[in-house]
Symmetry: C2
Subunit: 182 residues, 2 copies
DNA sequence: GAAAGTGCTGACCGATCGGTCAGCTATTCT
DNA sequence: AGAATAGCTGACCGATCGGTCAGCACTTTC
């Protein structure tokens, strides 16, 4: 792995666990075994390092959300949900960071891009219902999943990957099912 | 409201929205219309200001969790859940901060106290089941509720208080119901 | 073999951080 | 009236922050 890739991976892990503003370039450099100057050679600023760390996840979310407006049958919906859960599992660090720290990182372009996607997703899941509960079910599913996938390990909870996937799909299906099928 | 109380309220709001480490004492002082020195007169350090800001919430959580081990009937359980939801609503800022930034604030005593309470709560809701899904339902309910109560406003969502309470109780009851009743 | 480019470094910069301290003002206590 | 206390302040401190820059070693290109 190139130094640049290594820095991106380390930065993502630190940004997620300690927080963006609490993570110094110096610390990232030390963890990577290079100098701070080297970090700023590969990335022109701390903010650009953040962009590089999470933009692949936002790109992938864009791809996963592409067929959103064409979902028709319940089968379509189930397939989309599974793809979305796979996305959450694959990019759990990025998602957690976006969910937890996104609101304090407005004006970072990639964060705004992600926010727009979340709004689009929320609109889909509540388009046939303006009820408070319906909107809250979506919020709890999204925020809860992001929380589970990262923060849970704080309490020493570690789950097998396949079981995690199955459980997540099951719970989110339940939370996000159309009213008519509940 | 005394200057001290005002500082605590402002600090809590800023810590929650911008993050603990991203919030400077200077900024808190400016928002309160006093000098930075004045902040450090009322609170001996930034960390102690954090303690003062969230310890009332942790105290209240301790009170709410007190009857946890004596819960017997489904009625007990329902009453506890309602009390817990009321606690979440009352201390939404503190809870959000604890959930989102707690893991990066270990070694702060009040955070550790809160973590112990969450562990105790998790054990209750999964004591009769070590299944992955059961544990995840708890995590999603807790993390999701915390997310909804604060971050959702980022996306311009604002719900009436009473509807929020009812919906939250309904959703969390569903997520945390004993397996036997599902 | 000179020139150009890549990866990386230490020295250094201004700004800001959390925190200390002496001292000011106004109120309260004796 | 005088002493003590509470509330608050500006000046200042060392440390650390993100970021700049000249220059080093090495490889590739011409």
């Amino acid at each position: 792995m190139s130094t640049q890739d290594e820095l991106r991976v380390i930065a993502l892990a630190e940004f997620t666990s300690a927080g963006y503003s609490a993570t110094s370039l110096q610390r990232i450099a030390e963890l990577a075994g290079v100098s701070k100057s080297s970090v700023l050679y590969h990335f022109t600023s701390k903010e650009q390092l953040l962009e590089a760390a999470i933009s692949p996840a936002i790109d992938q979310m864009e791809t996963v959300l592409a067929p959103l407006e064409t979902i028709g049958s319940l089968g379509d919906r189930q397939r989309f949900l599974e793809d979305f859960v796979d996305f959450l599992l694959m990019y759990r660090l990025e998602v957690n960071m976006f969910i937890n720290q996104g609101p304090s990182l407005v004006d970072v372009p990639v964060i705004e891009r992600g926010s727009a996607l979340v709004v689009r997703l929320a609109q889909f899941f509540s388009q046939n219902s303006q009820s408070v509960e319906e909107n809250m079910r979506f919020g709890i599913a999204l925020g809860g999943a992001a929380y589970m996938l990262c923060t849970a390990s704080t309490y020493g909870l570690e789950f097998p990957a396949d079981e995690t996937r199955a459980a997540l799909i099951s719970i989110m299906s339940e939370l996000l099912a159309p009213i008519s099928t509940r």
